[in-house]
């Protein structure tokens, strides 16, 4: 009897051992690859990813410990779109950052896997690789590698844990090979959240303007001009004349990114007056929650205006639905608080001028960016 039990036990152990490497797999990859942790038979030959940027764009600063490679960007694209990164495999990064919305979800606030709404509108990822002074609306991290780690474990976003994701990645049919090709790892066990974040960061750095917006064509290509209304809008946007404050105080054109990379209170929230203590009344303290400084309450990142018409609604809380409403807000001067940005002051605006500003903003439309095959969902 004992021998019989021992035999069954031995057979069971052999069976379990043989099953171990198939967890989460079952697929198209060579069986040896699935059954062994060793990945060294797979060629590791990293090719530099050539980032193509429009004329007059600055050179993007790539961290020396995460150079962009063709395989790294491709792995990042897969991870970005893969719901494997959420607890119930229903959502991915792309659920809130869709190409069709200039990598936003076009919602006022985003909703996570448990159906819980967040408090902020998803930010466009267009040209995000150039934002060196703090990411997210509140600037709480400084690098894309740090940023990519956070939504996975955020309770109202993907609501899982990295150890769980790492297990799924190691068991996957495709990812061990892709991590090998991207980073030269020698075994599945070397797959970590940090490498996953590096790959996602590489993909995000590839999300650069196409250079095909009318504004870029007018800047860079002979024979392309803004029409008179767009030109009038550009001048209103750029120059401070006739009581117009000049949108370029914050949406700087010099580096072509239409942001000054600062964090400001742009008067979108009424906190009840300009006394310092009223700064506690911001429902979302923004940068202040990061720094702990009351004078930073209600300050949020100046977003880029590139492709802005495709990333509605607007502001950190998604409270303005259209560009017309945005222009009306700034023309009104917004709400005053102790830390209001002094550049946000009321100014007169005729219907003609408003139409001109809108026409200019539409020259920043970048359909070619949104439709770029290299940015699309690889699982579609």
């Amino acid at each position: 009897m004992n021998k019989w039990i021992l035999s069954i036990l031995a057979l069971t152990m052999i069976f379990l051992a043989s099953c171990k490497d198939d967890d989460g797999g079952g697929g198209t990859i060579d069986d040896d690859m699935l059954s062994a942790d060793d990945l060294t038979d797979i060629t590791y030959d990293p090719q530099t990813y050539e980032l193509v940027v429009p004329c007059d764009f600055p050179e993007m600063e790539i961290p020396s410990d995460n150079p962009m490679t063709v395989d790294g960007v491709e792995l990042g694209r897969f991870l970005f779109y893969d719901p494997i990164l959420s607890a119930d495999s229903t959502m991915s990064c792309s659920s809130c950052h869709l190409p069709s919305g200039s990598f936003t979800d076009n919602e006022a606030v985003s909703i996570g896997i448990d159906g819980v709404a967040g408090t902020r509108s998803s930010m466009s990822l267009l040209n995000v690789g150039y934002f060196y002074t703090g990411l997210f609306w509140d600037g709480r991290v400084t690098t894309l590698e740090e940023q990519a780690l956070l939504p996975v474990e955020d309770e109202i976003e993907l609501h899982t844990t990295w150890p769980e994701v790492e297990v799924k990645l190691k068991r996957s049919e495709i990812y061990p090979t892709m991590f090998r090709k991207a980073f030269g790892i020698e075994s599945k066990e070397e797959i970590t959240k940090f490498l996953a974040a590096k790959a996602i960061a590489q993909f995000e750095r590839s999300l650069v303007s196409s250079g095909q917006s009318k504004f870029d064509q007018a800047r860079c290509e002979p024979g392309v001009f803004l029409d008179p209304l767009e030109l009038e809008g550009f001048e209103l946007f750029t120059f401070e004349e006739n009581e117009h404050p000049g949108c370029t105080h914050c949406h700087k054109t010099i580096a072509q990114l239409f942001t000054d990379n600062r964090f400001v209170n742009n008067g979108i929230t009424d906190v009840g007056g300009t006394a310092v203590e009223n700064l506690e009344n911001f429902p979302d303290k923004g940068l202040g929650a990061v720094t702990g400084n009351i004078f930073d309450n209600g300050k949020f990142r100046t977003p880029s205006l590139r492709n802005i018409a495709n990333s509605a609604p607007y502001m950190h809380d998604g409270s303005l639905n259209t560009l017309e409403e945005v222009i009306d807000h700034y023309s009104s001067g917004g709400f005053s608080a102790a830390n209001s940005d002094a550049n946000v002051m009321p100014f007169p605006l005729t219907d003609q001028e408003k139409a001109a500003l809108l026409a200019f903003l539409r020259t920043l439309d970048d359909d070619a960016f949104m439709n770029n095959p290299a940015h699309q969902n690889p699982f579609d």
Binding site: P245, K252, G273, T274, N293, S336
Partner: protein, 271 residues
């Protein structure tokens, strides 16, 4: 054989000792720290604090920052020989009242390996010198002080040399309301506004070999607003009429910008 060994040893020692003599000795040098501190009417300056601008108009500032350039030590009062310390840097004195330690400490820039010696004066430029002002933030990496897109104004083809921002309670209702047009955005730039100041301390600046000295420059923000140009001082109280001239962005306001930058000379004192 023994003689040969002695000769070899002697030759080796000779060569070694002659090599020692060829090694250039480093020039005696020390380090200098220059600290910039902000004041308003003689008191430590804080952003977001209400100050009397005029008797009936309080003002709260939200930003006070500027580029400094061509900081040099002068060996003689005639400024014929300069020892350059710092080519360009950015000073942000925007500390609020939750940052008292930072405000009192000021912002320090350092120059290392300054030739030891006795110097008579210190030269400080305020703004971005013309040669650097021909460049723009795209020319620099993100860590460089000249990479600040927030301090470049494309319409001028110039860096913004200094920003003074805030809100004045123009209507006297006790509220500081940008939404009522009470904001103050004094942005100065273009080559014409670059200003240099030479300061002579009461006693010489002595840089000792391997020593370190600190020089403190106090800059009084209120002094920047003194406006000898009557056109911009409609109240005849010698201060810029910030109710009327609350920005300096157009060509017609260039004279104000020039005067504000020129006033850095008067506003700066060496401890």
């Amino acid at each position: 054989m023994r003689k040969f060994s002695f000769l070899l040893l002697f030759a080796t020692l000779f060569i070694a000792s002659s090599c020692d003599d060829d090694t250039p000795k480093p020039e005696p040098a020390g380090d200098i720290q220059i600290t910039f501190k902000g004041n308003y009417d003689g008191e430590t300056f804080y952003t977001q604090k209400a100050y009397d601008y005029t008797d009936d108009m309080p003002v709260r500032f939200s930003a006070f920052n500027f580029f400094v350039a061509n900081i040099s030590l002068l060996e003689q009062e005639d400024a014929t020989e300069e020892t350059e310390l710092i080519d360009i840097d950015f000073i942000d004195l925007g500390f609020d009242e939750t940052q008292t330690a930072e405000a009192e400490a000021g912002v320090t820039v350092s120059a290392m390996k300054v030739p030891a010696g006795t110097y008579r004066g210190l030269k400080v430029g305020f703004g971005v010198p013309a040669d650097l002002n021909r460049t723009n933030p795209v020319d620099y990496g993100s860590g460089d002080v000249l990479s600040k897109t927030s301090h470049y104004w494309s319409a001028w083809n110039s860096y913004i040399f200094s920003k003074i921002e805030g809100v004045a309670d123009v209507d006297g209702d006790g509220q500081f309301e940008t939404s009522e047009g009470e904001g103050l955005t004094l942005h100065m730039g273009t080559d014409a506004t670059y200003t240099e100041r030479i300061l002579f301390p009461s006693s010489p600046i002595v840089v000792d070999e391997d020593g370190s000295i600190n020089l403190t420059l106090n800059i009084d923000l209120k002094t920047l607003f003194y406006m000898p140009i009557n056109e911009y001082d409609v109240n005849n109280d010698e201060l810029l009429d910030i109710e009327t001239f609350n920005g300096t962005h157009t060509d017609s306001e260039l004279l104000i910008a020039k005067q504000l930058m020129r006033n850095f000379s008067e506003a700066t004192a060496l401890d």
